[in-house]
Amino acid sequence: MGNRMLRTLVREAGSLTIVMAGVSLITYGLIFLTPGDPAYTILHERHGSPPSAAEVAAFRAEHGLDEPFVVQYWTWLGDVLRGDLGTSYVRSEPVTSLLVQHLPNTVALALAAMAVSLTLAIPIGVVSAVHRDTWIDRTSQFVALLGVSMPNFWLGYLLILAVALSLGLTPTSGAGTLAHLVLPAITLGSGLAAIVTRLVRTSMLEVLEAEYVDAARSKGVHERLVVYKHALRNALIPVVTIVGLQFGFVLSGAVIVEVVFQRPGLGTMLVDAVFARDYPVVQGVVLVIAVTFVLSNRLVDLAYVALDPRIERGERT
């Protein structure tokens, strides 16, 4: 057992290194998709007129863009490993300090959205499964379908219109207080809630048919206790791991939701940087998101293996 875990860990570390190397290469290489010469394009768009050759040369020299790609990438990677993500072209501030300013808002939003989604999804999913194929089940399935099919930015504006503008209950935009967090969290959380509801329902249906639940029933355990104690606890194990895997969904969604609510965070920072061609910031945010996503997925995978000894790595295609 311990041996197997160790082997898994070593293999994980190996593939993790390769993936991280690939992630860093893509993150750095993306800016070279810029049509034409990045330095020229950046200066052209910034000034609205074609820059002189001297300006382009000066910009390249300042930001190390005059080296060959491999040298640039290697220098950048070395800096990144030392915790230096470069300096913003636009704001002349280190990217790391910009990240530190913006990260807490996004983390708060992501956690709040996950909380919203679980609060909605677990009860609805369980009730749906217990009352399988009744109108309760069908209604909740339909609501879940609406939830996964609704563009979250649109839901955001509907909520702004109804809750913030018409009822005046919350601010329409910004960040800082708990009131600012309510609408963005509901907007982002509802899409996730729809996915999780279906998972809870499926998982619950499977567990309710399992032998130990029958056993508990035949011992005369009260049905409510069967559902909420025996079944729910087991049904939630796969749900928790898959919710972990939805972290990328949450981060992607946060980008758009932050723009809707003009909420400072990684998302607004990324979108602003993309439009301003502030490449060090783009690279910094993408790297943070990708690394967080990879590590959270690996942790979830490992937790899954640790929790359930029947699962061998590699079996999950």
Binding site: L33, F153, L161, I195, L199, Q246, F249, S252, V274, V294
Partner: protein, 309 residues
């Protein structure tokens, strides 16, 4: 086809005929269960309706989707303008109909590219195995390291805001799920007797892959692609909403919502209509996908793969 006639008396000929007979039987049965499935009918119906609107849009409406008519700006829904008019006096219903072409067309093309890349990679990885498999699967891991929307956003942004670049961005991300699903299926069937027999007959590997492996991954790929079409419609609308995709005055649903947010209070129909259009389209794909999965592939797809952008 030619080798069937070269040795008509051989076992191979007989087994081919037998397989074809079984396949034809299964096909008619399949067509029947597809027609009987409520989800397939509902989802397919919604999508057919949308496709009709997209194709017949110009015939159905007397208005031009981009010409400004400032004398009739910001009118609320009426008989002349069933979904109202926008800030430049353009008929919202007309723009929704033209927007259907953009959304559906983009989703279909992007999905086709993803399916081609992903299926090829999955087939190669699963069938060849070994080092090729290991290398390709690392590529898949690297792709999956980026949330799809984030990667597409950056690619589209760096290439420059335009509908074409959103299409490129959405085509080159998101193939990893197909690669994983196809690889898994190929691993499962590549040692089955019918593949073994083909191999013993000296069938070339390319032909085995095309004739025996590919047909067996069609079902899960079709299901995955249907679900994926909905996600792409959502993501493309999101990118256009951010200003990266279709540029004004192109009628595109996400761009229309972005343009309507200034008039959220005075003209709420400007964001309501395109939002409902997006939602209907995505519902269509999701319901159809659910139905197809029930009929074609009851338990092969993980929820996490289906929902990936």
């Amino acid at each position: 086809m030619s080798e069937r006639h070269s040795r008509p008396e051989s076992d191979q000929w007989l087994s081919t005929r037998l397989l074809e007979w079984v396949r034809d039987r299964t096909h008619s049965q399949l067509a029947w269960s597809l027609r009987e499935n409520t989800s397939v009918r509902l989802g397919g119906g919604v999508l057919c309706l949308l496709a009709v609107v997209a194709v017949l849009g110009p015939v159905l409406t007397p208005y031009d989707p981009t010409a400004q008519a400032l004398e009739s700006r910001l009118q609320s829904p009426s008989l002349a303008h069933p979904l109202g008019t926008d800030a430049l006096g353009r008929d919202v219903a007309t723009r929704i109909a033209y927007g259907a072409r953009v959304s559906l067309g983009l989703a279909v093309v992007a999905t086709a590219v993803r399916v081609s890349i992903g299926t090829t990679i999955g087939l190669l990885a699963g069938y060849l195995g070994g080092l090729v498999d290991a290398a390709l699967m690392r590529l898949v891991d690297i792709q999956l390291a980026f949330p799809g929307l984030v990667l597409a956003l950056v690619i589209a942004g760096v290439l420059g805001p335009s509908l074409r670049n959103v299409l490129i961005a959405l085509s080159v991300v998101g193939w990893a799920s197909y690669a994983r699903v196809v690889r898994g299926n190929v691993l499962e069937i590549k040692d089955r007797p019918f593949v073994e027999v083909a191999r013993l007959y000296g069938t070339p590997r390319r032909r085995i892959a095309r004739r025996h492996l590919l047909p067996n991954v069609v079902s899960p790929v079709v299901v995955l692609a249907t679900m994926n079409l909905g996600t792409i419609v959502l993501t493309a609308a999101g990118l256009s909403f951010l200003g990266l995709g279709a540029q004004p005055p192109t009628p595109e649903w996400g761009t229309m919502i972005a343009g309507g947010r200034e008039y959220l209070r005075s003209a709420p129909w400007l964001i309501t209509a395109p939002g409902v259009a997006i939602m209907l389209t995505v519902i269509g794909f999701n319901v159809l996908g659910d139905g197809l999965r029930d009929v074609l592939d009851p338990d092969h797809l993980e929820e996490s793969d289906r929902r990936r952008v």
